[in-house]
């Protein structure tokens, strides 16, 4: 027995070492993926041993490169400077055009109570190394937990997305590139809006999966992030379609040319902070002359609750605006012409089936420049929370911080439509048109569609009637000039 063990000692040890490694591998696979948490120690040791050299070399290389390029190799800089200046001029013109589009997009997003993700903070990092293997597309960057990096943060360049943070060490992080075969990114084709999953292949290519073979995908179309993976914000460039072929299982095989040069990355940005906030139309919307004028005019002070209620009871009688109600007035009466016939403002009445709530600060001037827009955008310019998408459609409740709630109930029932009173500029069945339409049209987003919509249930008049006093022929509050249509 001993002679057998002695004779095959090397082989037995080989089998033993292999068995242990296979066992360890099986455990990692069973626990899922690379099981980086349980193998973290050996990875820390390795990274701790290797990356200091990499950092040093990168630091020296960068220093020498900077000295050379900044002080010696300045050939062609003047011509390049001239070209860049010309480019800036072209881009300024382009920027003007794009800003118009962006403003329009914001308004439309506001209409839908669209929630956007904004990149609020990034950390620039230098690529210092890689896994050194074709089969594991990983890079190391010189920023880690000390710089605020965390696992699953998106890594991008100016050209497009790069990958996500996989492991974080104190001063170094491991980034999984998008062309690794274990990575996946929710993507969308820019024009056709087809969604798919971006994956890497063993050869380091990037393919878009899960697009049905009956779809038309042109070569050259841009691919963007869809935001569905909760890692990359929506709309970041991913690449362009390089090749389309029929794949397996009724799906197309779409090869993507990555926008970022994944083979030669030097500097990257890590998105350490994202904000999700409601889109607002105020940011880039031009201020109207009337708004500026209104700012200079004395505003109507807030009324006490009782007075406000009393005023509210007389809503929609004389002025035709329907809602001369304290501080809430401008919100619902931004434009007298903007309210279609069949709309009425009813204080303290909340339709159980349809309310859209917007809060306005107590001190908000009725004639404030952004008040109409606050109503129109569903997002008060004062920074108050905007209309929630979850709110049902059909009426608008405006509440001040002092819990003054005014509900604008939409209805096509004639008897609660004091706007039909003679003299009301909004009288009639057609939605108003005019220069202010654009400001008031989005007043409640999709919910501002006239009540003639077949899917909309009319508000029953009975519950609202007791709380609505007879119309007061005299308007309780005069309309500020700024709210008049231009």
């Amino acid at each position: 027995m001993e002679s057998v063990l002695g004779r095959y000692r090397n082989l037995i040890i080989l089998v033993g070492v292999l068995f242990l490694q296979v066992l360890g591998l099986a455990v990692q696979v069973k626990r899922g993926g690379a099981d980086t948490e349980n193998t973290r120690l050996i990875r820390i040791w390795t990274v701790g041993a290797i990356t200091p050299f990499e950092r040093s070399v990168v630091w020296v290389q960068r220093g020498v490169g900077n000295i050379w390029h900044n002080y010696f190799y300045l050939r062609g800089v003047r011509a390049e400077n001239r070209d860049l200046k010309e480019q800036i001029e072209h881009m300024r013109i382009e920027q003007v055009r794009l800003s118009e589009d962006a403003a329009q997009a914001r308004r439309l997003q506001t209409l839908l109570a669209f929630k956007e993700q904004f990149i609020s903070k990034t950390v620039a990092a230098q690529v210092i190394g890689s896994s050194g293997s074709d089969l594991s597309r990983i890079i190391y960057i010189d920023k880690g937990g000390d710089a605020g990096l965390q696992r699953d943060m998106a890594v991008i360049t100016a050209d497009g997305i790069v990958g996500k943070v996989m492991l974080v060490y104190p001063s170094v992080s491991q980034v999984l590139l998008i062309n690794d075969q274990t990575s996946g990114v929710g993507s969308i084709l820019e024009k056709s809006r087809l969604q798919g999953v971006l994956r890497g292949t063993a050869n380091g290519e990037v393919v878009l999966e899960r697009v049905m073979s009956d779809e038309q995908v042109p070569v050259g179309e841009t691919v963007l992030t869809s935001g569905g993976d909760q890692i990359f914000p929506k709309g970041l460039p991913v690449g362009t379609v390089a090749n389309v072929a029929n794949g397996k299982d009724l799906f197309l095989n779409i090869k993507i040319r990555a926008a970022a040069n994944l083979d030669k990355l030097e500097e990257v940005l890590v998105l350490v902070e994202k904000q999700e906030r409601q889109a607002t139309a105020e940011d880039n919307v031009r201020v109207r002359a009337a708004d500026i004028l209104a700012q200079r005019l004395p505003s109507v002070p807030d009324k006490p609750e009782d007075a406000s209620a009393a005023a509210a009871n007389s809503a929609g009688t004389g002025s035709g605006t329907g809602t001369p109600i304290g501080s809430a007035k401008p919100v619902s009466t931004a434009n007298p012409q903007s309210k279609p016939a069949g709309w009425a403002s009813v204080p303290q009445v909340k339709s159980s089936s349809a309310t859209t709530t917007a809060r306005v600060p107590a001190g908000a001037s009725p004639a404030g420049p952004s008040s109409p827009r606050a109503a129109s955008a569903g997002t008060p310019s004062t920074g108050a929370p905007s209309a929630g998408t979850s709110a049902p459609v059909g009426s608008t409740t405006v509440a001040t911080p002092a819990e003054h709630k005014i509900t604008v109930v939409r209805s096509n029932v004639p008897f609660i439509a004091p706007s039909n009173v003679a003299g009301n500029p909004a009288a009639g069945s057609k939605p108003p048109a005019g220069p202010n339409k654009s400001a008031t049209a989005p007043s409640a987003g999709p919910s501002t569609k006239p009540a003639q919509s077949p899917s909309m249930k009319p508000v029953p008049p009975a519950p609202a009637q007791p709380s609505v006093p007879p119309p007061d022929p005299k308007p309780s509050n005069s309309q500020p000039p700024a709210d008049n249509p231009q």
């Binding site: 390795t46 041993a49 070399v57 293997s133 063993a202 030669k264």
Partner: protein, 172 residues
């Protein structure tokens, strides 16, 4: 010059100083991780494999060879994002094979080193491919042409590196 068969008593066994034993594998791992970012073609080379083969052949001790291969392979694994053990298993086999071969063959000349390195590169690739597909279910495509060309490139580089590393050998 063809490889000559020698008995176990005739071949010389070498050892290395601790700095060389630790330093060269670390240097190989560092270069393997660092250089491909600047020169993507460098990723076809496998410096840790060359170091494993060299140490295994020089020491001519199968246990030492397989342990060297296992350690270098596991460290190389830990630089990547895949489960630990893929390179570990492949290099363990290579280390054992190279040291076993070193006992029986004279692998001091360039021609023998070229052929041995090419052969072990293919063995390494085959073991890695098998384990990656069989145990980890990675999608890999085997390419003979790529494997042969990469093996040849590694073998040529290996011959150069081995001559440099020969200077650090110490007779036992």
């Amino acid at each position: 010059m063809p490889s000559t068969y020698t008995s176990g008593e005739q071949v010389e066994v070498y050892r290395f100083s601790i700095p060389a034993t630790v330093g060269f594998p670390l240097l190989a791992l560092f270069l393997q991780a660092f250089v491909p970012r600047r020169f993507p073609l460098f990723s076809y080379l496998d410096l840790p494999l060359l170091v494993t083969i060299f140490f295994a052949m020089a020491r001519r001790n199968p246990i030492s060879g397989l342990l060297t291969g296992a350690v270098i392979g596991l460290v190389q694994d830990s630089l990547g994002g895949l489960p630990l053990g893929l390179y570990g298993i492949a290099k363990t086999v290579v280390g054992f094979g190279a040291s076993s071969l070193g006992v029986k063959l004279d692998v001091e000349n360039a021609g023998a080193r070229l052929l041995v390195t090419l052969a072990f590169y293919l063995v390494h690739a085959a073991v890695y491919f098998t384990v990656a597909r069989g145990l980890v279910s990675l999608t890999l495509n085997w390419s003979w042409s790529r494997g042969f060309l990469a093996g040849l490139a590694n073998a040529v580089l290996g011959v150069v590196i081995y001559f440099f590393l020969d200077k650090f050998k110490q007779r036992t």
